[in-house]
């Protein structure tokens, strides 16, 4: 069956000739090939099951066309079909006017939109205008339960035939595709741990929100827990849940008893500050603080071992873990012990680095490989970096089914051993298809200064005159108070003086940017966020990998590539990468620039399929995740601890060594750092 068709009809309808004809017609006409999902269903998803519909009635929704009611009955059906059409529209009207009044604001009264529904059988109907198509899309979202929040929605754009790219991004209407609808409304898997894997930008988190809401409303006694790695993520997720519940008119108050949202760790004195602290307090496990000297996995294992000796009841009915790739397998195991059911949602490609079998291809229950946020060329490029596809050795070469899971089409190798990697060009928002004329990814080979970052901003402004401060995020791959902050501050002053834009420095202010603010941030704080434009500043040294390098060095390099992948895929429209020969080998940088040229028009690249010997040993990749990047600061501290330096001396030493060029360039070579520290200690004595 066609992959872009979502079907939810009774069996007898599926067996009917009329229905079979509909399917074959759709196939013939090639509808849905642009990546937009076709829906064939009997009832709107959000209408209570008690409400019955005519058993042969079916509604067919194809984007850019009117919504069609079809009678699949083999018999003459009296007035049943007429009633079906009326009931359907009435129920939609109730949702629009009563349940989700934000829709009433954009759609208006029934008479203003009911003419987008027609009765018919299989004949195709006229293509609608852009204005009409938008309204059909909005109606579709009510029917399939992909409820929009319309928070910053500008209704005036709804009536404009032509809108700018930025307007299209800001006012886009997201529809669940087949997999997404199944996950939220028609879950067909019954397992204690359900794994939902998506690429960055595939709408995972939004989907989790819908699922959480559904359980919260449908099962009034269920105890639900939600967690993600760090405080920043947990706070932004909490905020999203509050706003989402508000918009979705969830009447019951969110209390920690029913819906517990916290980051993964927490603190000893406040059991509600984190999931681990909650578990410790609930079962009387001794709480351990985060420490540089002890592996997180050991901390979780201690808790698991303790629980194994106890007779205990789960404290949750459902536990949701977002960005699961950031967690050690032990953590997820611990979660599955304290909850009846666990949903883990993570990034497919980062999970491939995990030795946890629940993330394997076979064990993933829902795959979301269609990326609605980011341009496919940007995604391809991010994978080129993340997987080291143009490096030797290659960091990671996927198996055929894994490539498919990641949304790729891979050709057979030619005589020279070259293969083509291709991503589908899907329609992400109105006008996104026309963006292929403009590069979605650009590398600036320049020294990292506030000026080079400003040049990227100029480029954005030139192509998008209506760009606002809040449309741009600047992401430093390495944020350090001593080295990066001065550049960030200088950039901030430039934004104020040259652009009249204010800014927020997220690593220290720890808040979301306001309307007139450019977001200046780092890897740890940008996860889960999205912006029309992203400028990634690669101010961390990037080295070529050799198979003879120390394990620790290889791991570090892979993590840096992973971090770049994550940061680059935050954009809706385009991503900029500022890299310099000062800390990236020139040959590698040239290759990356070449790659951006090759993919500038289409998300297709030819690369050499590596021989098994030219791929990094899988064992090295296990347990790697993007979060635990060992920073230069960590390395310095490690060495300082070896020297038994006092806290107050530490400050002076850090001050002295921070002026050294090698340190500024972010070197992570232990030998180099150690000798610089030794010199500083000598100087102080």
């Amino acid at each position: 069956m066609h992959k872009n068709i979502f079907i939810d009809v009774p069996e007898k309808v599926e067996e009917s000739q009329v229905f079979k004809d509909i399917l074959s017609n759709l196939e013939e006409e090639g509808l849905g090939d642009d990546g937009e999902t076709i829906y064939i269903l009997q009832r709107p998803m959000l209408v209570a099951q008690e409400k019955k519909y005519y058993e042969y009635g079916v509604t067919l929704i194809v984007q850019n066309k009117k919504i069609i009611f079809i009678d699949c009955s083999p018999y003459e059906s009296d007035n049943q079909f007429e009633y079906y059409c009326e009931d359907f529209i009435d129920d939609i009207n109730a949702l629009v006017t009563e349940k989700y009044p934000q829709y009433f604001k954009v759609l208006g009264r029934k008479r203003e939109w009911s003419n987008f529904f027609v009765k018919g059988s299989k004949e195709s109907h006229e293509i609608l205008s852009k204005v009409e198509s938008r309204k059909v899309k909005i109606l579709t979202s009510v029917i399939i339960g992909s409820i929009q929040q319309f928070v910053d929605f500008d209704e005036s754009t709804l009536e404009n035939e032509e809108i700018s790219v930025l307007e299209a991004v800001k006012n886009k209407i997201m529809l669940f595709d087949t997999n997404q609808t199944k996950f939220v409304y028609k879950e067909d898997v019954d397992k204690p741990i359900i794994s939902l894997q998506g690429l960055a930008g595939s709408g995972k988190t939004e989907l989790l929100l819908h699922k959480i809401r559904k359980i919260f409303v449908d099962e009034t006694t269920a105890r639900i827990g939600v967690t993600c790695f760090n405080r920043v993520l947990a706070e932004s997720l909490t905020s999203r849940i509050i706003d989402f519940f508000n918009i979705m008119k969830v009447s019951e108050q969110i209390t920690a008893k029913r819906l517990f949202i916290a980051h993964s760790w927490g603190s000893r004195n406040d059991p509600n500050s984190g999931l681990y602290s909650k578990i410790c307090s609930a079962y009387g496990i001794e709480f351990q603080r985060y420490s540089n000297n002890r592996k997180n996995s050991e901390v979780w294992q201690d808790a698991i071992n303790y629980l194994k000796t106890q007779d205990f009841e789960p404290i949750f009915d459902y536990l949701f873990i977002d960005e699961s790739q950031d967690f050690e397998p032990e953590y997820i195991k611990l979660c599955s012990m304290v909850s009846k059911k666990v949903y883990v949602a993570g990034d497919i490609l980062q999970n491939i680095f995990s030795e946890n079998s629940m993330f394997s291809y076979e064990d993933t229950d829902y795959v979301l490989n269609r990326v609605y946020r980011t341009d496919p060329r940007t995604i391809l490029f991010s994978h080129i970096i993340g997987f080291g596809l143009i490096e030797k050795p290659v960091v990671r070469w996927l198996k055929d089914n894994e490539w498919e899971m990641a949304g790729y089409e891979v050709s057979q190798p030619d005589k020279a051993g070259m293969v083509t990697l291709k991503r589908e060009n899907i329609k992400r928002f109105e006008g996104s298809d026309e963006l292929s004329k403009v590069s979605s990814i650009k590398i600036f080979n320049e020294e990292i200064t506030s000026d080079s970052i400003a040049r990227a901003i100029d480029d954005i402004q030139e192509k998008n005159p209506d760009v606002k401060a809040s449309d741009i995020a600047i992401v430093f791959t390495y944020y350090n108070q001593r080295h990066t902050r001065p550049i960030a501050k200088e950039l901030g002053r430039k934004l104020l003086s040259d652009y009249s834009w204010d800014y927020v420095l997220v690593p220290e202010e720890k808040r979301i940017g306001h309307d007139n603010e450019v977001t200046i941030t780092n890897i740890n704080n940008v996860k889960g966020l999205e912006f029309p434009f992203v400028i990634v500043v690669a101010n961390q040294e990037l080295n070529t990998i050799s198979k003879t390098d120390l394990k620790e060095d290889i791991e570090r390099e892979i993590r840096k590539r992973n971090a770049l992948y994550m940061a680059l895929t935050r954009s809706f429209i385009s991503s900029y990468l500022i890299m310099s020969n000062n800390n990236v080998p020139a040959t590698y940088l040239d290759k990356l620039i070449e790659a951006t040229e090759e993919i500038s028009e289409k998300p297709i690249i030819r690369v050499k399929k590596p021989e098994p010997d030219d791929i990094i040993d899988e064992k090295l990749l296990y347990g790697l995740n993007s979060q635990l990047i060992k920073t230069q600061e960590d390395l310095i501290l490690e060495i300082l601890n070896e020297f038994n330096v006092t806290d107050s001396d530490k400050r002076d030493i850090l001050e002295i060594i921070s002026r050294k060029k090698e340190i500024k360039n972010g070197t992570m070579e232990r030998k180099v750092v150690k000798s610089i520290i030794e010199q500083a200690i000598d100087f102080l004595n």
Partner: protein, 295 residues
């Protein structure tokens, strides 16, 4: 050192009540906390402080501007009138005061740490121990601590519990922000004690006609109210209950307010004439009321 008239256009607390509620709701539900915090945030952003934590937080915000050399941060904005100035602040080393100047309000408080500009380098010095230099990282940490303190009342905790809070913030910083790894928790503890130790020496000059107006049955201004709440007055404390008002017989300028603090050697002190009930004040209140009526 005089460090004058730095224009600030950003509110003191930039986090939204929702962001704060998520972070600090502890004993309340997030929704309740959001409502409660929203009032606190509004009050602070209007420069009405009611606890010492809030005053300290405010000082730290000013220190951050100072250390970041951002006194002229918004100079271009001003030209384009994109954002109006919310307040101006000055540091006076002579008698260790901060002066804050906003619409219809002048405020002065004690300068807890000593701001130093040495050969273009800026830093702060502790008064307890002048060898203790305080840099931007320390201030960022302290801001975090006192922000939490405003909403969670850390001052009510035992010193041991306070130290645990400091360790928790340190954990958070080391986990999520790079470059904070050398935070010295003991030093933070000392600086927090120091900030809480000093009296804030708060004084606020307000121009407030609204509260001076009370009308009798004939619609006339009641004079007693004018002298009970003089439209040009000084509040002696940031807390309501111990505060009392000292009125002026006319509107005073910023310069006159500054003179109260006797910056110059041998500067004359202000002398209060007792039992004096200036008629002009009643006239001013009447004029204000009539003008308001016309609008």
């Amino acid at each position: 050192m005089k460090y004058e008239d730095n224009k600030v256009q950003k509110e003191i607390i930039m986090k939204t009540p929702q962001e704060l509620a998520i972070k600090y709701h502890e004993r309340l539900s997030i929704i309740e906390a959001k409502q409660e915090f929203s009032d606190i945030v509004n009050r602070i952003n209007y420069l009405f402080f009611s606890t010492k934590n809030e005053l300290i937080y405010f000082c730290l915000v000013l220190y951050k501007y100072f250390l970041d050399e951002e006194e002229n941060k918004y100079s271009t904005f001003e030209k384009e009138e994109k954002q109006s100035i919310l307040f101006k602040f000055s540091f006076y080393r002579k008698n260790d005061r901060i002066l804050v100047d906003s619409e219809n309000k002048l405020m002065s408080i004690y300068l807890p740490f000593i701001p130093i500009i040495d050969n273009g380098n800026r830093y702060l010095e502790s008064r307890f121990n002048q060898k203790e230099k305080i840099d931007i990282n320390d201030i960022i940490f302290l801001l975090d601590y006192f922000e939490a303190s405003i909403f969670l009342n850390y001052e009510q905790l035992s010193p041991m519990e306070q130290m645990i809070r400091i360790e928790n913030i340190k954990d958070d910083f080391t986990r999520s922000g790079e470059g904070f790894a050398d935070i010295d928790a003991d030093k933070m503890g000392r600086l927090i004690s120091e900030l809480l130790y000093y009296d804030s020496s708060y004084l606020r000059y307000d121009i407030d006609f609204e509260c001076s107006i009370e009308i009798d049955e004939q619609g006339r201004i009641i004079e007693e109210k004018v002298f009970n709440h003089p439209p040009y007055h000084i509040d002696s404390d940031y807390r309501d209950s111990p505060s009392y008002k000292i009125g002026f017989d006319k509107k005073i300028t910023k310069e006159e307010f500054i003179k109260l603090f006797q910056f110059e050697n041998n500067a004359p002190a202000m002398i209060i004439r007792s039992g004096y009930k200036p008629k002009e004040l009643v006239q001013d209140v009447k004029a204000y009321k009539e003008q308001k009526g016309e609008k």
